[in-house]
């Protein structure tokens, strides 16, 4: 145990937590925006898989990481348009149409991978970018300020999402259509347009999450996400639809995971119970919620299709 409390191991654990948290954070922030507008998207995992594949494929073909990020964003937007049409215009049951997107993303990314790539080939990974001065701060410099640009973006999006939701007219519209679309409609706010826009933003961030995941790893595999998108959705509930809370959830989840891995590596967790230890992130997340004992209400119109008739 004492091995764990050495500065270098703690720093590494923290850095690992930040890396693990990055895709969750991006996807969860996107889902937060969508849910605040009243739209549940269970398809995050599928969007992440598609964007992860296409951005990986872009790097494989062009070697251009930034193009890959743009491609991921584009995949997110395309899936957002699709999801927007299904949920906003066709008023489909959201919980389930999201699962449709998930299944499609799972199958299609796998199919494309086998067709276009086959055997996993490593590609360039996202470089870490040191932030001048801050990167040299002992202990926190490495985990916090020697990360990739997508990680910085993910964390920068926390206050930005807060501002978007709480300080802009668009955010006001989002919150109102998520709580009482009839009221928003009666004031001339287009519920359809607002939700559609929120879905687009949400899916774009899911797209970026896929890029963050695959470009941090530098390799793709069928079902690369292993259900990360679902965890991202769960973290929105953990964070009670607040960007800061969502960040807390992503960090907690990442930190428990990273700690468990460190402890396995150090032999603190014996091999015989390594699977049991693998349950820790989920247990801690639920446990934390029980202890917090919050009664935060979901956006009142969450999952409810709106129509005037």
């Amino acid at each position: 145990m004492s091995d764990f409390f050495t500065s270098s191991v703690l720093v590494a654990t923290f850095a690992s937590a930040i890396r693990l948290a990055t895709p969750y954070l991006l996807a969860s922030l996107g889902e937060t925006i969508g849910q605040r507008s009243g739209v549940l998207n269970l398809g995050v995992d599928g969007v992440m898989l598609l964007s992860a594949f296409f951005s990986y494929w872009t790097v494989l073909q062009t070697g251009n990481l930034w193009l890959a990020v743009v491609v991921a964003l584009a995949v997110g937007i395309i899936m957002g348009v699709l999801y927007g049409i299904i949920t906003v215009f066709f008023e489909a049951t959201q919980g389930i149409s999201g699962i449709g997107i998930f299944i499609f993303g799972l199958g299609f990314s796998d199919l494309m991978f086998r067709q276009q790539v086959g055997t996993p080939k490593p590609v360039q990974r996202l470089p870490s970018v040191d932030i001048p001065v801050l990167a040299d701060i002992p202990y926190i410099g490495e985990p916090l300020f020697q990360r990739s640009l997508l990680t910085y973006l993910a964390f920068a999006l926390v206050p930005l999402t807060f501002l978007l939701l709480n300080k802009t007219t668009f955010g006001l519209n989002i919150r109102s259509v998520g709580e009482n679309p009839q009221a928003a409609d009666s004031l001339g706010v287009s519920v359809e347009r607002t939700r559609f826009a929120a879905i687009l933003i949400g899916n774009s961030l899911a797209g970026l999450a896929g890029a963050a995941l695959v470009l941090q790893l530098g390799i793709f595999q069928p079902n690369l996400t292993q259900g990360m998108g679902f965890i991202a959705v769960a973290l929105v509930y953990f964070g009670a639809w607040r960007p800061l809370g969502v960040m807390g959830g992503a960090l907690l989840y990442g930190l428990v995971n990273a700690t468990v891995l460190q402890w396995k590596s150090l032999g603190i967790i014996p091999v015989s119970i390594s699977d049991l230890a693998g349950m820790a992130p989920a247990i801690v997340t639920i446990g934390a919620l029980i202890l917090l004992a919050r009664r935060v209400n979901a956006p009142a119109a969450l999952t409810k299709p709106f129509s005037r008739h």
Partner: protein, 511 residues
């Protein structure tokens, strides 16, 4: 103002179909500058439908709409808003989680795009507040506001958008008498400033005092138009319902028997944890109606929920139903003890809109042997029972299999009443039993309550309609700031005296 005619609004030949219903049939309706034009009619007569068409929420199947003399297409609320039409809906159109300023700013262009300009909005709200006497704190979250305050926010929203034609669909249904008086001062002033107002209400006293003109709808058709000085409440009632209606209930003498419901030192906290009911004791006896009068927000809701078992009481208190202590039991067992409960809000508390009328009628007693045999529902019996109740209570519905959501408010209320009264409760807790209900239905409900009293039910009637409380109650308890500050017998209860008590003025204070 307008040269051609004095009409701000003209609706001609408006017709609107809903599945199985003609909600408006060839309706002509107009509003002049500077007048309050009242729409009157039974539940389901088509009043809301007509004004929703005006506001772009529904599209008329036939008919024309002229605004300021010009033909207009209004296909969405934003069209209506930009034509300076404002609407205060029958159900509040507020986002409870947002602040007053945010609710007002919603949908309006901001001067600081893309950011909101809530400071400016707040300032403007304060100006409007001052100008019209509509006090409200712009930075307060709407969820924390009283019903009256919410109503004010709705009006501010319309004024903020500079509405020239203002529609008020039953704005007074949930207001206290004082709030109604205040509102009317504001509305009158708005009309005097040249705005046109459409007013909808079931309360004839209000209609007579506020309106310049009155149009009466029945079954979607205009059946008459008049002015207050040419008519009377009785005549209006006759026009609406098509028959004579007794406006104030008559309470025949009745024998009062044993205590059925008793509260002893009951204190209850509200959702924010402060004491809403403060050490209240009273009892209601068989064959008696005890009315609770009070301005809303003085603990009536909490005391009702405490009696119904929906809210826990503080440890020292005691609630007994038919002599047994129910303080710690749940709603189910209180109902088993003979409690009937008509909640304050039909939806979402009293009925399930998605359920059929029949299902709502068995919501409480769905598990009795009458309806279940060998674990399974016997639909024949349920259907028989429901049809009986529908006809007994005069519920206007195509069938017992109709989803309750497509019934008018008054008819939903009748469904709830039918359910609760048919169980022959020994104790009946009736909260706002006629809120939003037309006079015909209200008369009917009052008669049923009186009938129940004659059958020996102990009724606790909680209502903000002072006429109703005074007309129906053997005794009237006045609640003020969580306490029962006076109990007067029905005969001694005069409007003015009770009104003063409701404002917290007790007799010892010199007038």
């Amino acid at each position: 103002m307008n040269d051609q005619s004095n009409n701000l609004l003209e609706m001609r030949g408006i017709t609107k179909y809903f599945p199985g219903v003609v909600a408006n049939s060839d309706v002509d309706f107009d509003v002049r500058y500077g007048e309050v034009h009242t729409l009157l009619g039974e539940n389901g007569a088509g009043k809301s439908t007509l004004v929703k068409i005006l506001f772009g929420l529904y599209q008329a199947d036939k008919g024309d709409l002229l605004l300021r003399g010009e033909k207009m297409e209004i296909s969405s609320p934003s069209d209506a808003i930009s034509s300076r039409i404002g609407m205060i809906h029958q159900h509040f159109m507020l986002v409870p989680t947002l602040t007053v300023a945010e609710n007002v700013a919603l949908g309006m262009p901001s001067t600081r795009r893309p950011l909101t300009d809530l400071d400016k909005v707040s300032k403007r709200i304060s100006e409007i507040s001052e100008e019209h006497g509509l006090t409200v704190n712009p930075s307060e979250t709407v969820a924390h506001l009283s019903v009256g305050e919410r109503q004010r926010v709705e009006i501010i929203k319309a004024l903020y958008r500079d509405a020239e034609l203002l529609v008020l669909d039953e704005p007074t249904a949930v207001l206290t008498p004082k709030e109604v008086d205040d509102l009317f001062v504001i509305l009158r002033r708005m009309a005097d400033n040249g705005r046109g107002l459409i007013f909808i209400s079931h309360k004839l006293r209000e209609v007579m005092s506020l309106s310049d003109r009155i149009t009466v709808l029945r079954n979607g058709q205009v059946v008459g138009a008049t002015t207050p000085d040419q008519t009377s409440r009785e005549e209006l009632a006759q026009m609406m319902v098509g028959r004579a209606v007794r406006l104030t209930p008559d309470l025949p003498p009745n024998e009062v028997k044993e205590s059925r419901l008793s509260l002893n030192n009951v204190s209850v906290k509200n959702d924010s944890g402060t004491l809403a009911v403060d050490n209240v004791s009273f009892e209601v006896r068989a064959g008696e109606i005890l009315g609770i009068a009070g301005v809303s927000g003085n603990g009536q809701r909490e005391i009702a929920e405490a009696i119904a078992g929906l809210r826990t009481i503080e440890p020292d208190g005691l609630i007994e139903i038919n002599g047994s202590n129910v303080s710690d039991t749940n709603t189910r067992s209180r109902r088993d003890q003979g409690l009937g409960f008509i909640p304050e809000e039909r939806v979402p508390d009293g009925a399930i809109p998605e359920f059929t009328v029949g299902e709502n009628l068995i919501l409480v007693d769905h598990e009795t042997d009458d309806f279940v045999s060998r674990g399974l529902f016997s639909f024949d019996k349920i259907s028989e029972h429901s049809s009986q109740l529908v006809s007994d209570f005069n519920v206007k519905t195509p069938s017992v299999n109709t989803p309750t959501s497509s019934l008018s408010g008054g008819n939903i209320q009748k469904v709830i009443l039918a359910r609760e009264l048919s169980a022959s409760p020994s104790v009946l807790l009736a909260c706002q039993p006629t809120r939003g209900v037309d006079i015909g239905a209200a008369e009917y409900i009052h008669n049923r309550l009186i009938e129940q009293r004659e059958l020996g039910t102990a009724t606790l009637l909680i209502s903000e309609d002072l006429d109703e409380v005074l007309g129906l109650s053997d005794r009237v308890a006045v609640m003020y700031e969580g306490k029962v500050i006076a109990v007067v017998s029905g005969e001694d209860a005069e409007r003015e005296k009770v009104g003063l008590l409701m404002a917290g003025v007790t007799e010892t204070v010199d007038a």
